[in-house]
Structures are given as structure tokens and as C-alpha cells.
Subunit: 133 residues, 2 copies
DNA sequence: TCTAATTCAGATAATTAATATCTTATTTAT
DNA sequence: ATAAATAAGATATTAATTATCTGAATTAGA
């Protein structure tokens, strides 16, 4: 059974070929925007309607299977929902690397200083990756 | 002399009433999206064209007088360019507070661990502000 | 399996957002 | 005050996203 079929079923979404291909492509890319995702999908489903893609993106977002990532100067990106992480964005090759880094002490200090109840953080660090230095 | 006239002049941009009003409204709001900015501007310039607003936003971005901020689940926001800072976004009232916090040691560690040359970071922390707890 | 109910895909059409073009008006340096 | 340069407004155009409708695919149950 395909890796995503159970996930779709758990959210009462039918496992259509289109949906599975959308998830596979997002997963393979790590991060992807609508335009590029559409071009990849057309390779397999030459008749795929853009409306179908947008509809599915919205359905998958609503089910929290994927999430929107806003990266500076880039179009809206989508990724499979995973644990919170920091994005390292290379300004040259536009590759995005996900890293984990414990910021609990930072958060607790910020929370205390500003009387702000932290729920989630979005961190993008822009610069040059090792390949592009 | 208006506070922004010198800035515009330094970038060879004429100080039109529209431009000054755009800067004033962005500054007053702290962060603002195109739609709300347009509605605010219409109060003063009832005939302002949306094309003028978009054109000016792009001109001001190109001159680095304002910058784009991408906040999760919200439309593209604009703010007057200032020192790097962390955004605290309240998920309830959508207010955004700017804070400063020194993350140099975090950055140097991330940079070393990932062989990544850091240029700039974008940090948004979502949660509940003191008014909305 | 076969069938029926449900949901989805594809094809438009319709919105909405953003940009380009053109003419008139405003700004600014002299 | 005037002339050159640039910007504003109006409009058209393009791009992005969503809505609607009908036929097709999926899935649960017999």
C-alpha cells in the first residue's frame, strides 16, 4: 500500500492517482511552488487541470497533510507537514535545507520578556550553502 | 520638511503626495497589506489608482525604502525598512510586535554545523499576545 | 466481484490580483 | 516662471485563483 494512502484515508480523502502524485512530488522536492509542481505533474498526467491542482492543494492544507511555507522573494511553497524545523535558504541555488536546532531557552526568554504565549515559530535563514560559497 | 522627503530624494524619487501618504500609512501601521493600505489611502485620495499603488510599492521596494514581509496565513505585508528584528504575530488579533533579540551565538553554531554562510534571517513567532491571552 | 453512493477530475467561466501602456498632470531644477 | 523629467490616473491586459457543472473514478457494502 502506498505510503500516503493511509494518510488520505485517515482524513476521508480518496486516494486518487492525481492526489498521490501531488503528494509524491511535493515529498520528492521537499519544497515546491504551484507552478513547478504543475509542470512536474503534467509529465505524468498530461491532461491534469490546474483547477484540480489548486483544489487538491487546498484540501490537503485543510487536512493538515501539507503546509504552506513562505520564503522571502520566492513564491508560496508547499511541503509535507513534518516536525517544526529551521529552513536554510541558499540565495544562489535556492535550495532549502531543513535543520533542527533547539531554541527552547530562547523562546522561554522571549515569551517571558514580552508576555507572549508562543505557539509556533517560522524561521528562514538566507545565505550561501556550502556548494555555492 | 517631511520626514520621508529626504529619503525619497536620496533615491531620486519625486516626493509626490501619493508617495508620502503611502509611506506614512505603512509607517503608522507598522505592517500592512496592499488591500488595507489602498483602503486607507482612498480616504485621503479618493481617486487614487490601484496601478499607482502597485507601481509605487515596487519602486519603493527597488529602492530598499520598504520591504516585503511574509507572515504565515496572512497576505504579503509591507513595512518601512529597519534593523533586522523578530516578529511576534498574535494569532488572535493579528497584531505584530517587533522585538530585538541577539541570536549571534545560535547563528554561528548553525553556520558552522551546516557550512552555511548566513546573510539574513526571517523569524516570525506566532502565538497569543498579552492582550489576547 | 458488482453495484450504488460519494467524491473527484476536467473543462470552462468567473474572480481577483498584478502589470503594462498611454495621456495628462505634477514635481523639481534652473 | 518655465522646461524637462517623472508620476498619476484610466484603461487594457495578463496572470493567478476559485467556482460551477458534468462525466468519471473510488470505495464501501452486498
Amino acid at each position: 500500500m502506498d505510503k500516503y494512502q493511509g494518510l488520505l484515508k485517515a482524513h476521508n480523502l480518496k486516494s486518487t492517482h492525481q492526489r498521490l502524485a501531488i503528494l509524491k512530488n511535493i515529498s520528492d522536492a521537499g519544497h515546491i511552488d504551484v507552478e513547478f509542481l504543475y509542470s512536474k505533474l503534467l509529465e505524468k498526467f498530461s491532461s491534469l487541470s490546474k483547477a484540480t491542482l489548486y483544489r487538491n492543494i487546498n484540501d490537503l492544507l485543510a487536512s493538515n497533510i501539507i503546509e504552506e511555507i513562505k520564503l522571502p522573494e520566492l513564491k508560496q511553497q508547499y511541503e509535507i507537514k513534518k516536525e517544526p524545523h529551521i529552513h536554510l535558504l541558499c540565495k544562489n541555488c535556492h535550495n532549502v535545507k531543513d535543520i533542527n536546532y533547539n531554541l527552547d531557552s530562547v523562546y522561554s526568554e522571549i515569551s517571558k520578556d514580552n508576555k507572549f504565549k508562543i505557539e509556533k515559530s517560522f524561521i528562514v535563514i538566507k545565505g550561501l550553502c556550502s556548494n555555492c560559497v
